[in-house]
């Protein structure tokens, strides 16, 4: 008789049995579910072309124009999205392939600033206050939030919009509060219920945005 595992993992992997069991049987099942996830993310990425293709092109042209006018890109997010923000910044600043390096700064890694702002004012201002200090009209703000609901990301967009910056939001699910914000000029939403698949597809979105921006800069030269 089996004893199904309860809770979230049990729901994700109904084949699990709480009793000691055969390693090879579990390995076969996890291999099958891994193959399913690979298929799922490939299909999700494919779907982004129809959903966002033209809008990514439009956004890239706007970024290219901004960079040609001397813009700096600022990126921000929380948790896993903070690492994406750093990846966005290093991708633009120090491209992995032959491409034009562009000024970009992630607002997520100065621990002194982030702890100072959190301690003295509140965590909701950690990105907005940095944009207030660094951001100029025509600069670019890229905010990532898988839920679309991170208050500090939304506050940063409001500050960026106030300063006349180009604002780009990358979110998951239904876009959350980011989808309702008037401060976001270009919004890209990954429609998946899995936070992991959302993050994976968001990575593709900003890679493509970077490539298209590079192409637009080369074309306009």
């Amino acid at each position: 008789m089996s004893a199904p595992v309860e809770g979230a993992i049990g729901a994700l992997y109904p084949f699990l049995d709480a009793r000691p069991t055969d390693v090879d049987a579990v390995l076969a099942e996890v291999a099958r579910s891994t193959a399913e996830k690979a298929t799922e993310i490939v299909a999700l990425r494919d779907s982004l072309v129809a959903e966002h293709g033209q809008r990514l092109l439009d956004c890239a042209h706007r970024c290219a124009t901004a960079f040609r006018a001397g813009a700096t890109l600022f990126s921000f997010g929380n948790g896993g999205s903070s690492t994406d923000a750093q990846d966005v910044a290093q991708l633009f600043l120090h491209p992995p392939t032959a491409a034009r390096p562009l000024p970009a700064i992630s607002l997520t890694h100065d621990v002194a600033l982030i702890t100072a702002l959190s301690n003295d004012v509140g965590f909701e201002v950690v990105f907005a206050r940095q944009l207030a200090a660094f951001g100029r009209a025509g600069d670019i703000a890229v905010g990532l939030s898988t839920s679309g609901g991170s208050t500090n990301v939304l506050r940063a967009f409001e500050e960026a919009a106030r300063r006349g910056m180009v604002t780009i939001g990358i979110a998951g699910y239904d876009g959350g509060r980011m989808a309702e914000s008037a401060a976001v000029d270009h919004l890209f939403v990954v429609p998946s219920a899995s936070v992991h698949r959302v993050q994976e597809a968001q990575t593709t979105l900003y890679h493509v945005l970077w490539e298209l921006t590079q192409q637009a800069l080369a074309d306009e030269r």
Partner: protein, 188 residues
């Protein structure tokens, strides 16, 4: 086959790596992650996955990234050289029951190689996520478990790496839910 779908072919290898990782965590080990450039951000992302799980109720597992501390990174680089930045930290922070995870988009990072060699010599379980042709690190089979994403585009390699480490986290927890599989005698 496109690299994203080709991941399915590595599924059994990934499953075995996760099983051994779960055994290490069960013994009290921690996960230590490192890489350069984009993969440095991946190292930090992996840590968030394990320490602060997205699924409510999943236990936090100990993980640290060797890429966060600019003082340490620049200090070691100045005195011992950049190739030693991860190995030097591992010698001080790692215990034999730990797991080392190194990421490199082309498998040709001297400091990642030095980190994995040092980890292996200290008795850690070593796991590598690479790209391109796997470079010298995959060729010389430095890591106990290596997954190579066969693409020369570092952006595509990164995208598949993100899926792989999400799956690593999820499968480690799957094995945790199967206590009978965490006995070292079960691991082959």
């Amino acid at each position: 086959m496109a690299p994203g779908q080709a991941l399915a072919d590595d599924a059994v290898r990934i499953g075995r790596a996760c099983h051994e990782m779960a055994v290490r965590f069960h013994r009290g080990g921690k996960l230590i992650v490192f890489g350069n450039g984009g993969p440095a951000t991946d190292a930090q992302h992996v840590v968030v996955e394990f320490v602060h799980p997205v699924i409510v109720g999943k236990r936090a597992l100990p993980a640290i990234s060797l890429t966060n501390d600019a003082a340490t990174l620049t200090g070691i680089s100045r005195t011992e050289g950049f190739d030693e930045v991860f190995a030097a930290q591992l010698r001080l922070l790692a215990a034999p029951e730990d797991i080392a995870l190194g990421l490199s988009v082309d498998g040709r990072c001297a400091n990642v190689r030095r980190g994995l060699v040092t980890a292996r010599d200290l008795g850690l379980l070593t796991v590598g996520l690479f790209g391109g042709d796997g470079g010298d690190i995959a060729r010389d089979a430095i890591a106990d478990h290596a997954v190579v994403v066969s693409s020369d585009d570092p952006c595509i390699v990164k995208e598949v790496h993100v899926t792989i480490y999400h799956i690593l986290w999820e499968l480690v927890h799957v094995f945790f839910e199967q206590p009978g599989l965490l006995d070292p005698a079960v691991v082959r």
